[in-house]
Every structure is written in structure tokens, then in C-alpha cells.
Symmetry: D2
């Protein structure tokens, strides 16, 4: 057992073959270009490894609560890695457009859009083929080699993290327990709060009449959506229009968790939802930083992959969100002061005694 052999460094460190050198016109910065992308791919593999752990825990029809902590830890680790990957762009930006110009045309038609692992991460998390933006009129995997495309397709067949989360949330017992029905208790409390918000807009000194109308309408719409959260048929309708991706029961449970997160039994579920939202945000941030970098590096030029990549990346930052529904729930939060008190039996069910 030896450091270099354990890490297989002979393979890792001999896998950099700058094209510019091969062509007899070595460009110093191509090494950086190769190494940073290899580093990204290594970390993509680690992210897939962590997704595998989460999937293993949530794959079953029931989740052992003693495994939940490890799932949260894995999700939080992914976020830590993502922060690092976003920051790593700082290094690539030490390569100026002039330096990139020395070898960029040699890479045609290779492109970052050909990263199989990145596609797999998106697919495993739950970014469905249907919801992807098409790119230059192609589907997202057109640029992948045949075998890679097959592997990605295979990954797409698997149950996604989003689906596993949905199924698990839908089994939350506390939202309907004994005589307690969360949606009724909550519906009343929410009506009160929405009234407050509408009043706030009406009284707002700096809003034009039209703006007030717009925003009041927005709130009414929220209310309508919430009703849908309670009525299966109407929810299905909205969902059919792409209004929601997750199931009604799952979103209702997520809302319950956000509101009563301090209850011991909800702490880990809350952290899990929080981690998935961080993950989604870091993914968007990665796309945005990436877009800024690309537009800086190649201006309005065509990308090596033939892509007008920057605009596309900017668009995906908005559209390729997996856990968007969780962000949407923010609209339905109500202040602790306004929250319905939970019946004792429900609260008891969510506690244990840490202290003697």
C-alpha cells in the first residue's frame, strides 16, 4: 500500500495531452484548461456517489429514520462540493481570452455540453427530459456520443431523488393524526395572513394603483393555488399545466415541515428540504457564473461546440430547477405567531426524551 499506487497517480497524472503541443504549437494555458475540467469531472463523480447514497436510503417504500441523518449529511456534502466548484471558476478566469484563443479552435467540436456525468447528475436529481430547454433545436443529449447517450438514458429510467423525496413526504403521518387535519387548521390561519398582506399592499405609499392591482392579483392567485393544494382535482389541473411537479400530499407535508420544523421529529426532514434547496440554488449559481465566464472568454463568438452557450446557460439557470416547488412554498409560510397550535397528541408524537 503506497500513496501513488493507492491513488493510481500514474494514470491520473499522465492523462493530460494538450492538443496544441501535439500540433507543435504549445499553448501554455491549455494545461490549465484540461486540468480544471478533469478536476470538475472528479467532483461530479463524487456528487453521483453521494446521490447514490441518498437513493439507497430513499429507494425503499419506507425510510429507516436511523438512516435519515446520513442522507442529510450526503446532501449537505454535495452542497459543500458545489460551492467549491463555483469558486473554482476563479482559477479558470486567470486564463485571458487572448490565451484561450491560442488553442480554442483546436478543440472544435468538443464542448462542455458533452459532460456525461453532468447530464447524469441532472437526470438523477429529477430534471426530466421534458422540462429541459432545447438547445440549438436539439435535445440536451444530441452532442453526447452514442454510448454515453445510452448510459444517460439508462440513468433517466431510474427513480429520481425528487420522486423518492415526493413518495417519502407523502407518507408523513402528522398532517392528519387523530382529529387533527393540517390543511383545515392551516387554511384558516392563512386566510388571516393573506388579508394582512393585501392590506399592506393597499396601504403601500410607493406602489402605483396598477402595481397594487398586479400584486394583489398575484396574492389572490396564490390563494387559488393553495386551495388547489387541498383539492386533488384542481391540483391535478394546475400540475398538468406545469404549475407543480411534486404531488399534493408531498407539498402539503413539506409545508408542514417548514412551519413546525422545531419539532424534534421534523428537524432532520427540515434540514433535508433545506439542503435540497441549497443544492438547487448552487446549481443555478454554477450556471450563472459559468455563463458570465463564457461570455467573457469568447464574447459573441461561436463556442467550440457550436453553441451560443452563454445565453443558453443563463436560461437554464432559471428553467432547470429541480426543487422549484419547495421555493414556491415560501409564499405560503405564515409567522409563528399566526400558526395554529398543534394538538398535544400530535406534538407528543413528534418528540422523544433526550434528558432523564
Amino acid at each position: 500500500m503506497d500513496y501513488a499506487s493507492y491513488l493510481q497517480l500514474s494514470r491520473i497524472l499522465s492523462a493530460q495531452a494538450p492538443e496544441s503541443a501535439r500540433r507543435g504549437t504549445p499553448a501554455h494555458d491549455e494545461m490549465l484548461f484540461i486540468i480544471i475540467h478533469q478536476s470538475y469531472e472528479l467532483w461530479f463523480k463524487q456528487i453521483i456517489h453521494e446521490i447514490g447514497l441518498i437513493d439507497g436510503i430513499f429507494g425503499e417504500d419506507s425510510v429507516d429514520e436511523a438512516d435519515l441523518g446520513r442522507a442529510v449529511h450526503a446532501a449537505e456534502r454535495i452542497v459543500r462540493i458545489q460551492r467549491h466548484l463555483v469558486a473554482q471558476i476563479d482559477i479558470l478566469e486567470t486564463m485571458t481570452p487572448m490565451d484561450f484563443l491560442e488553442f480554442r479552435n483546436m478543440l472544435v467540436p468538443a464542448s462542455g455540453f458533452q459532460s456525461e456525468q453532468f447530464r447524469i447528475i441532472e437526470a438523477r436529481l429529477g430534471l426530466s427530459r421534458a422540462r429541459r430547454l432545447s438547445f440549438d433545436g436539439h435535445t440536451f443529449d444530441t452532442r453526447l456520443p452514442e454510448d454515453a447517450r445510452t448510459r444517460v438514458k439508462a440513468e433517466e429510467e431510474k427513480r429520481t431523488v425528487l420522486a423518492a423525496l415526493d413518495a417519502w413526504l407523502s407518507r408523513t403521518p402528522f398532517v392528519e393524526m387523530g382529529g387533527f387535519t393540517f390543511r383545515e387548521a392551516y387554511g384558516a390561519a392563512l386566510d388571516a395572513m393573506l388579508k394582512g398582506d393585501i392590506a399592506m399592499i393597499a396601504a403601500h405609499p410607493q406602489l402605483s394603483a396598477q402595481e397594487k392591482q398586479v400584486q394583489t392579483a398575484a396574492l389572490e392567485k396564490s390563494r387559488a393555488i393553495l386551495d388547489a393544494l387541498i383539492d386533488d382535482a384542481r391540483y391535478a389541473a394546475i400540475r398538468a399545466q406545469g404549475g407543480f411537479v411534486m404531488s399534493r400530499r408531498a407539498l402539503q407535508a413539506a409545508l408542514f415541515i417548514f412551519l413546525y420544523r422545531d419539532e424534534p421529529a421534523l428537524q432532520l426532514p427540515f434540514r433535508l428540504l433545506h439542503a435540497f434547496m441549497d443544492l438547487d440554488e448552487q446549481m443555478a449559481l454554477w450556471r450563472l457564473r459559468h455563463a458570465l465566464m463564457v461570455s467573457r472568454m469568447i464574447g459573441s463568438k461561436v463556442g467550440t461546440g457550436g453553441s451560443s452557450g452563454a445565453q443558453y446557460l443563463r436560461a437554464t439557470a432559471d428553467e432547470h430547477r429541480v426543487f422549484n416547488d419547495l421555493f414556491a412554498l415560501t409564499t405560503f409560510l405564515i409567522p409563528r405567531s399566526a400558526m395554529p397550535k398543534l394538538p398535544d397528541d400530535v406534538r407528543r408524537a413528534m418528540r422523544y426524551r433526550f434528558e432523564a
Copy 2:
């Protein structure tokens, strides 16, 4: 001389008065909300201080080359501060929407859009009133109190960093020296390269005929724009349509600096341009991170300032760019191999002897 009195800590540390406490319903996280914004404002003051240094050096009709290094250092320090301000959002994100909900309505109609210093930074750098996106149909400063608005207007009257940079670049001697005329030498070299790019597109295996057409047209357009860089009348026309903000002579000099940055006399000018591009990018990044945070914190709700802030912030990240013209130049770069050789007298003029 004592630490606390030197830093006037009695004032600094007594300036946090949570509204929620004043109203008898203390919300723990309001302290974080206040302190992080105060921290931002402190750093905004530092940025304005650095802009002042740059302005002082560039304000004159001529720049003492012995001051240039300090101007570059100030610009690079601003970028370092900006990176820090963007990262600081991580701390604010430890406040959940539920926690913000405890006091957000109490802040109406206060809003981050009322930051006078931020407006001053934008104005001093060179973001003109005309180019600002209107917000809820108001001009950008509607929300500022009268006196603040007056102060911002006064700052807007001053010569901007962008204008000072433009004037200084326009005085660059090397672009026309002895018999040498940069635009002629460059024009020829560029024609050759554009031919290459067009060929690359034509031969591209993964581009549709239509995409090829689009991108070839884009390059032709670039060429047209470049011609404009040479012809005052046509440049003026494009500029009138908002195509460029900087002057023809300034952009020509900037291009020269990007291409020949290795020449000793161009090293500092190159670093200065580079720092201004970093600054512009960090500003955009700040707006994007800020937008992500806002949409996460308040969902589709109306902001305390009555703003649908997230979308606006996203839009300004694209539109409120001060040094955009410098990014646009990327399109006109050519590989070192293709660059016209400079006449000896021009090169000599850009050198000194560091070694005996």
C-alpha cells in the same frame, strides 16, 4: 489613543435598534438583518473611497505614469471587496424565510433599493441615468429621500471613472507612431482570422444550416462593427444606437492594449482594463446572487419596498454593465501568431531597461 475610541465603537455598536423589539415582539434574526446591511454599507463607503483615489489620478488631462500602479491597486482592491460582499450573502442565507417573516412586514416601506451609497457607486463608475432600467415605472432614485436624491444627482454630475478612462485611453500614442498605423496593420490581420472562423463554422459537423447562417451573419456583423471602429462617422452612428458607449479612439487603444499587453508600457494599462472588467463582472454576480437570495426569501411575495425585486435584479445584472465595451472587444482579438509585428521604434518606445 485607544482601540474603542479610535474606531468610535460606542457609535457603531449602539446603532442596532431592531424594530421587532421596539414593538414588543422581538425577532432574534432581525439583528443579523441589521448588522449585515450595516456591514455592506461600511464596505460601500470603502469602495467609494477607492473610486475617489482612481478619480483623483485620472481626473487630470494627463496621468502621471508613476500614479498608474496605485490606480490599478485601488481597482483590484475594489474587486477583492466585491468578492467578499458576494460571499457574505452566505451568512444572510442562514436566515430562513420563516425567520424573516417574523419582522419583514415591520420594515415596509424600507428597501435595499434605498441605498444611497450603492447608487453613488453605480453613478461614479459611469452607469448613466439614461441606461438604467426603470423599476415599477419609476426612475432608479424615486425611492430615495429628497436629500439623498440631491446628493446622488450631484455625484452624477461629476466626471465618471468610465469617462476618465475613455479620455486617458484616447491619448494612447502607440496606436499611431511614426509610420505605424495600428488600425491598418490590424485590419489586415483580422480579415484573415475572420475568414478562418467562418470556415470553422461552415465545416462544423454539429451545426444546422440555419445555425451556420446565423453565426456567419454574426461574424459579418462583427466585421461591420470593426469597420466602424475605424470610421468615425459610422462609429458615431452605431454609438447613437447604443451600440457602444466608449469613444472610437478609446476602444481602439483598449484593443491595442489587449493584443500587446506583454509590452512593458502596456502591462499596467492591461491590468487596469482587466480590473475594471472584473469589477463589472463582480457587480453582475452580486446582482445575480442577490436575486437568487430574494426569490428564496420572499418567493413571489411583494418586497418590503413594494418591489418585485428578484426579476428586476436579474435584469440589471445584464443591463447595468458599465464596462461592457471592453467585453465586446473579445470578439476582435486575434491569436498572437496572427498579430502584426510592431515596428522597432514602436516597441522601443514601450520598453525600459530593468537590467544593467
Copy 3:
């Protein structure tokens, strides 16, 4: 309600009075020096605010398990802030020694060692006066003005976070429940593992005989210390020699939590311990970065406070650790495979049913 008045910006932004300007020899970088220290003090106030929350939750003789999550969140927020404060040193390092030289002598005898809030943070966490390194033969607060010293002393009287944690851990029920006695079950498992470690050392191809002796002795000593963990009298003896700061019962519970952290009832306690360790490490990192910066800024010169600060800061990074005992426990961890199985009744006591 207006942004500037809410944040009291008129006070915050008028509190920078560079001494160099007052003396008629303005030094540009003194503004940075003032603002970065004011920013640090703002964040120190926030950290004290979070410590207050933790103290409020743990101050009682019993901790409501529904509050534990908020305590963990506060501790994790402190760590997030600390990371930010450490990174902020990057900005100060844009000030070169030459630039500092322009005004440093004007600050004598002011010194960062006079930060009252930093002393309070150390004191409230649990860094006792007795364990502090003396500095230039003074106690740590000699340099503080009289009134500040009095306030710090008052804070020192309060129950520390470390003490509150100790008391709470000592009440952990699971370590002795029904027939189960953790220390017995664990003692047996540990003996097995230590045998393994000793064998590993003996068989180690790259250890000199002497080194093997040293390290084997170290392990034997660990074993002895562990015995002490079980025997009150012997534990008291070691503790008297400064071997441990926390109580035997508390450390035993902490060890139990580290080992069985996956149990739902132990998840939050584990996160709390983890956060306190992060906090301790970030504090050490702050001192180390600070020391590097100081030695770079003033070389071997005397600090403005008359301190040879760098070496002292380096030393405190090792000695001023509050939660050292938790790090020490690492030695006593054993692989999951070797861990004693918990009786069903104990495991049941640490669970709830999240799913129906």
C-alpha cells in the same frame, strides 16, 4: 420607516475619522484599516447575540428538545460568520507594509488586543482566565480601559456555554438505561480495538523501534485516560492536572453521541457538538491567519500596542481552545463494526415514527 434611518447609517457612516487626516498627513489606506475593524466589531456583536440565544436555551436546568434545533442553528451560524471573518483578512492584505507604515505609529498605543467584544466572546464560550496565556507578563485584559475591564469581568461571572453544555450532557439518560451500562459495553469493545492499533504499530514497516515504543506508550496512556473516564476519583486527579476541563459524565455522554449519532434522538446533539468543534477550529484558524498577517505587516517590529503579537497569536491558537476535550475524544472512537449493539429498549427510547 426608511432604509437609512432604520440602519442608522448617519451614525455608522460618519464614524470613520482617520488619524492621519487629522494630523494633516492623510494616508489613503487608513480608511480601509478603520472600516475593516469596524466590520469585525459588528460581526462580533452578532456572534455575542447568537451566544445569547444558545445561553438562553441551555441556561435552564433542562433543555426543551423543541429548542435544540435553534441552538444548533445559532452555533452553525456563528461558524459561518467565523469563516467569513477569516476570509476577510484577504482584504486587509491588500494593504502593503509600506502603506501601513504611513500611519501605524499614529495609532500607538491602540491595539486589537483591546477589543472588548472579542474578550467577551472568549469568556462567554468558556475560556477561563486561568487557562489564558499571559501576554508580556500581563493578564489578558490589562490593556482594556477600566470600564471595559469591568464589563468583561461581569461577563466572566456568567455561566459559560461550555459549562451549560457540560451540565446538559451530564443529564443524558441513554448511557445508563435499564440494564445497559455504556461504559462497560464500550470498555470491552475498546480493549479489542486498542489491541489492533498496537499490533498495527508493531507491524509498521516504516517506524523505528523507538518510535514504535513512543506510540505504543501513547496508546497505553490513552487507555489509562479512558479508565479514568470510568473512575470518578482518577478522573478528578487527571482533571486537576488540566488533563480535562469537562466533567466525566459529560465526556462519557459526548462519546456516546459520537458513536451512536445516527440514532434520531442523537442527531441534533451530534450536530451541536460538531458545530462547537467547528467553532473552536475556526477560532484557531482566525488566530493563525491573524498571526501570519501581522508578521507580514510589521515584520519583527513592535506592534502598535507594544506587543510582539504574532508569536502570541500563534501560541493562543494552540492554547486558547475551549472545546478541546471533544477533539480529545477522537482517540476513543471505534469503528461501527466494533461497536457494541444497543439493547432494543435503549434504541426504542431514541426513536420516533416519522412515517405512518
Copy 4:
């Protein structure tokens, strides 16, 4: 040309073979452990690549001033990479000691001390074998396999970056030009300043008599060292005792550059020295963060390489400094106000005309 083949991903992504899986007891976190180390090694290769560029530029008997900018850029890129590597430790810290315990014994006797590339980086920069701390009584490369040791030795034979820098600095013309002799002009100015410092200490309200004595003595010693900077024989003596590593002429030039860095001809040299100091500091920071992480991960246990690694790493952070002499110069800086004015001919020699 295809993304995956260009980056040789089939090799990169198949080079992770967790030992725990091979032994039939898979430990989830071993993948992280492998990937993060492989990522570190990739970046080490990039750092060596940048050192190669610097060496190529400085290897000659004269440095083309048109290459200097690229050397500075390479050094600054190394620093950017180092910052990233230090931050990357955050990811490894998501692995708890309990998780590491699952596989750490399987790695014996592999150890990070066996990183060939890290040794090469140290050697190429200029950390001589003689100045290395011995470790467990071995020389630093005992643990390397025979072939690796040979390669490291070969790298040690090469001219180091430190040596190349020294030779280049020694050729600085401006320190003695026409009638001007820097050391004379400077000596006088320095005497004045040291008097001021001694007075400051004498008048210091918070220094004990003994402390004053100590610090005054320190300053007298500085003065003595400075004299040595002027007298070859005495300098040689101090250097023989390890007081300095660089040559007298080189240090004198470095001091000149620090003092007159605003002169155009000194801007790049100043940035280069600054970058090497940053590089040295980041190296120390890496060792310190690494030490904190190790002590957290394995407590007082023996490292997998048989090392008591933490203490050693802490020690190397102080002792394995390559550019220490540059930090030492801080003591000799004097305020701009006190600096001797340069003769016109010397100033002219350091300028060019950027503007017409």
C-alpha cells in the same frame, strides 16, 4: 475531437479503487478521500507547470522585460490555485473521524508525505534539503519509493526559482546609477527612522522597562543586520549562520523595489516579489489548515504513515518558508515621507511615456 476523449475521462474516472470495497467492507467516504487527493495532485501538476514557465523566463542570464508580465501572471495564478486548495479542505472536513475510522487502517503505510509532486514543488521553489525539518529522524524523502526519490533528487539539482530570482535581482541597475548609491542614501534615512522607533518604545505607556529593553535591543540588532546588508564580509557571516538565504545584492534590490515600487519600471518587479510572498504565505496556511484537520481527524493517534503528522506540519509552517528574506525586509521599510528623493536621471531611467 470529443470532450471525454480530449480529457481522457475513461482513465480519470476509472482510477478510484476504494480499498474498503476490495476487502468486502465498503466504506462510503473512502471515495471522497480518494477523489480529493487526486484533485490535489492534479492541481499540484498545474503548479509545477506554472513553475516551469517562471523558470523558463528566469533561467537565462537575462530576463526579457517583455516576458516579466507572464512570469508575474504565472506566480499570481499559483497563488489563486493555492487559495483554492486550502479552501478545499472544507470538503474533506465533511468526513467525520468516525467515518475515516472505517478505512484508515487499511491504508497503512500510505501517507500524504509520499506525495512526490508536493516534494518537487518545495524543491523547485527553493526549499533546500538542508533547511528541511527532519521527520521521525528521517530525511523528508525516506518514505518515497526509490524511483520517486530519484526523480525528486533530480529536480533538486535544478536551479530553483529562489536562485533565479536572486540572480535577477542582483542585476538591478538602479541601485547604483551615475552618482547615486542607494545604500548610502537609504542608510541615512533609515538611521532617522530607527531613532523614531526607539523613541516610540521608550515613550510607550504600556511597556515594561524590561520589554522596552528587549525591543530596543531588537531594533539595534536590525540596524546591525542592515549594516551587514551593506558590508559583504559581515553579510556573509550572518548568512553563514542561516540569518539570510538570499544574496546581499539581491536583498538590497528587493528593498529598493519595495520602497520605489510606484516607479513604472519597478511595478512588475514589485508584483513579482509580492506574488512570491503570497505564495509563501499560502503554503504556510496550507500546512496549518492541514495540521488542524489532521489533529481533528485522528486525535493523538498515529497517522497511517506512522507519523505524528499534526505537530510536524505545524512546525514546517514556520520553518519551511522559501521567501522568508522578503518578509524580513519589512523591518527595513521607511515611510514615503522619509524616503530619499531619487536623482532625476535615475527616475528617468525607470519611466516611459504612455501618453503622447
